[in-house]
């Protein structure tokens, strides 16, 4: 019922137990402008398939991610969904989406999980990794056609690894994108226990799939790109301090200490989170415990799924937002600098809603006021709950000091979520992958200010410019974001960054720090357009918003 009862259980063991009614909301209340989540029909009709609609195995729970990438380089973001049976690729025609999966080169494969993107061979075409229960598949983009190069890249083509989140990241700054992949549980379908078989196979009296507790844990994998088409597993020598006691899900990469070297966070289910600090010597060390980003606000292990890196308070440091299980709330770890975070969930207003099972999370500025807002995809894990299985989305509007919350949109059992300006109007749409249903695309309607977009192309570093940091100054206040692969829950946001300018007609200064650390200042840029910038060449193109 309350924190007292949850954390003070030790006092009352054997006394009949505390009450178990819904936990009341906490945190400040912030009045927000009116926002409306409007679903837009864009031709995404393929019903995703994942599991058989029962909770027999934990494998049926995790569902799929979505990537927003411009796979054909026509300037319009396309959609790639991983799936329980076969990936689905939608081409953006400008007015709607057209299913081009049969000719895409992507092959049907069961138990698809996450997806992430990056131009690993620097040929100007965005490649993708699809994670699976089994063996993940690396697809090279050959001028708009995907080719499975998993064996040629030296990656395993079979196995029983339950891989989930992933991201391309140039952790050693050699100009080539490497790969981080999180792994969930050590799971074998042929020997998995049946619902109700052990204490880990029930939930509130229901017999449900077993896990994650009770299953052996697994570790993340780091694959180094040798620049000759091969990836080599360097996890053992490169990832330090990981205890091996993790059930890994969502992955996000970000430069948390502002040193120009990419760090990594992995959201973990029912176990402490992993925060990999880049040691700038080709290794990364898990510092989540010391940094204060491993546990929940009361020191509890959270059921974390999705994750985002976002500068919520405009101090130039990237904070961490996580989505968590029901009876928990989303988490905000505020970055105080020098590898020191503090749990700010309650005071930020993110601690007000504990009724959702959160998955994908996207950062977008609903009203383009220059403060990043949040959207989260929700959905329970047990289909047997019927109506309660499907849950509305969570919107968090950033009021400066704290967030206000709004639960809205049709109730669905959602998993992956990604954001992008799909129609070139300067406002981000939200794409959501739903379990055993067609995906959804939403617009957030409401009053808003102006915006500008930034699309980067690397020349000396990786061509996707993953790891580049963009700082935009408007009215003396700065906004910081980075181009990144992965994020959310098993998903990939568009590489284009959007910045809200409010009533300002221009940004006073736009600065890009490229992945190799070099800084380029673009100077003033007017609102109302997407700017294409090339490393070393400044702004090379401008497209006004539609």
């Amino acid at each position: 019922m309350t924190a007292w009862l949850l954390t003070g259980l030790l006092l009352f063991q054997g006394m009949g137990g505390g009450p178990r009614a819904a936990k009341p909301a906490g945190g400040p209340k912030v009045a927000s402008p009116a926002f409306y989540l409007r679903e837009v029909p864009l031709g995404l009709t393929a019903k995703h398939r994942y599991g058989d609609g029962t909770s027999k195995y934990i494998l049926s729970m995790t569902g799929n991610g979505v990537a927003i990438i411009d796979f054909d380089n026509d300037g319009k973001p396309d959609l790639l969904f991983n799936d329980g049976v076969a990936p689905v690729l939608y081409r953006n025609t400008g007015k709607a989406f057209s299913d081009v999966s049969p000719t895409s080169g992507l092959t049907p494969r069961p138990w698809g999980q996450g997806v992430c993107a990056g131009d690993f061979d620097n040929d100007g075409w965005t490649d993708v990794l699809l994670t699976y229960y089994g063996a993940s598949r690396l697809y090279r983009n050959e001028k708009g056609n995907f080719r499975d190069i998993t064996p040629a890249a030296g990656l395993p083509v079979e196995g029983k690894r339950f891989s989930t989140g992933c991201a391309f990241v140039d952790y050693d700054r050699d100009g080539l994108l490497d790969l981080i992949i999180s792994n969930y549980v050590a799971f074998d379908l042929s020997t998995a226990a049946q619902p109700g078989a052990t204490k880990y196979c029930t939930w509130l009296g229901l017999e449900v799939f077993c896990g994650p507790r009770g299953f052996p844990t697994d570790r993340p994998i780091l694959l180094h790109n040798d620049g000759k088409g091969k990836f080599r597993d360097v996890s053992q020598t490169t990832l330090k301090g990981i205890t091996g006691l993790h059930y890994g899900l969502g992955v996000v990469t970000a430069d948390f200490d502002g040193d120009g070297w990419m760090d990594i966070y992995i959201a973990c289910d029912s176990t402490p989170g992993i925060l990999l600090r880049n040691n700038r010597d080709g290794t990364l060390t898990d510092v989540a415990v010391e940094a204060g980003a491993a546990y929940g606000a009361d020191g509890e292990e959270l059921g974390s799924m999705g994750v985002a890196a976002v500068d919520v308070d405009g101090d130039g440091r990237l904070d961490l937002v996580k989505t968590n299980f029901i009876d928990e709330t989303p988490s905000l770890y505020r970055n105080l600098g020098d590898w020191f975070f503090v749990d700010a969930t309650q005071e930020s207003g993110l601690g007000r809603d504990s009724t959702a099972v959160g998955w994908g999370v996207g950062v977008l500025d609903f009203d383009m006021d220059g403060r990043p807002d949040l959207i989260m995809a929700n959905g329970h894990i047990y289909p047997e709950l019927k109506a309660a299985y499907r849950q509305a989305k969570s919107l968090y509007w950033n009021g400066g000091g704290a967030f206000s919350t709004l639960r809205t949109g049709a109730a669905t059992a959602s998993r992956g979520l990604a954001v992008a300006d799909l129609d070139g109007d300067g406002v981000a749409e939200v794409v959501v992958a739903n379990m055993n249903a067609a995906p959804s695309v939403f617009k957030v309607d409401g009053k808003r200010g102006g915006s500008l977009g930034v699309r980067l192309e690397g020349t000396r570093g990786n061509r996707s410019a993953i790891g580049a940091r963009v700082t935009v100054t408007v009215g003396g206040k700065t906004q910081t974001d980075e181009v990144r692969s992965g994020g959310s829950y098993g998903s990939q946001h568009d590489f284009t960054l959007l910045f809200g300018l409010g009533a300002a007609k221009e940004a006073e200064r736009v600065e890009v720090r490229w992945p190799n650390g070099e800084i380029e200042v673009m100077g003033k840029l007017e609102a109302g357009a997407l700017y294409r910038m090339k490393e070393g060449a400044g702004v090379v193109g401008r497209t006004a918003w539609r």
């Binding site: 006092l11 009949g16 009450p19 009614a21 009770g214 105080l336 020191f340 503090v342």
Partner: protein
């Protein structure tokens, strides 16, 4: 005639067995169908009515379940089986109510528990659960009334007071009961904590003095209510008394962090992690 009666009773027994098997298998609907048939065939058997009462309750029909229970009692007013059945039935109503609360079906929980407290008005646990069902619907005044009824039935049962926590302050009637409880149980951390909440006197929390985690409830409350200096003081005393109590370290780490004492926060985070890390 005797032959026909035997046939009917044999049929009832079969239905009864089928119904009980379905109850054991958790299939309330099938159980109810079978047991309603059984009771039709043997309406003078109190056991049949007890079983059908259970099936009706599990299938969500509390009022008809109580009617069946009453019928059993009327048929065998002095039967120890019926008495035991009534006691078990009261517990079962509580379990059903709690199950509905767990499933977040608060209105259905309330419906069952309203019938339960009417049928068993002296069962404190049923009043407590009713209080929870009302609280979960935001009906705080009614929830307080239910919790007070529970407390009055078993004034020495500490756990019954816990439901009041987020409803305080709730007025003189509640304050009087809490004061009486701590007077009788001066070592009750919960009692002092609740009385402190009721009166708005944080100083009362420091009277909490039980178990190995002395001060913990008070310290935690202070932490949550943003009184960092006092909370740190108490939490440091908690960990001095019980160096293995993990939650206190994390609360301390949070407070140190917010006070800018990074080294202390770091040490507390590490100690917490050492204490809680385990193979999942």
């Amino acid at each position: 005639m005797a032959l026909v009666l035997a046939f009917l009773l044999f049929g009832a027994e079969e239905w009864l067995q089928k119904g009980i098997a379905a109850l054991k298998a958790g299939n309330a609907v099938e159980a109810r169908t079978a047991l309603e048939e059984a009771v039709k065939l043997a309406p003078a058997e109190p056991v049949m009515w007890l079983a059908v009462a259970d099936a009706r309750l599990r299938s969500g029909d509390a009022a008809l379940a109580v009617a069946a229970l009453d019928r059993a009692a009327k048929l065998a007013p002095a039967s120890p089986i019926v008495d035991r059945g009534r006691a078990m039935f009261a517990r079962r109503m509580g379990e059903v109510g709690q199950g509905l609360l767990d499933a977040r079906q608060e209105k259905r929980a309330e419906a069952v528990l309203q019938v339960a407290v009417k049928s068993f008005p002296k069962e404190a646990e049923l009043w407590r659960l009713l209080g929870l069902a009302l609280y979960a619907q935001g009906r705080n005044a009614a929830a307080v009334t239910a919790f007070v009824a529970a407390v009055d039935l078993a004034p020495n049962e500490e756990s019954l007071y816990a439901g009041l926590e987020t409803l305080l302050p709730a007025g003189k009637a509640v304050e009087a009961r809490l004061a009486k409880y701590v007077a009788a149980h001066p070592d009750s951390a919960l009692g002092w904590y609740l009385l402190g909440l009721e009166r708005g006197e944080a100083a009362l929390w420091e009277k909490a003095w039980v178990s190995d985690n002395k001060f913990w409830p008070a310290a935690f409350a202070l932490h949550k209510q943003a009184e960092p200096a006092r909370a740190v003081d108490l939490l440091e005393r908690v960990v001095a008394l019980n160096p293995d109590y993990a939650p206190a370290y994390y609360a301390l780490a949070q407070l140190y962090a917010k006070q800018g004492q990074r080294e202390k926060a770091l040490a507390a985070r590490k100690r917490h992690h050492e204490l809680v890390k385990e193979t999942p």
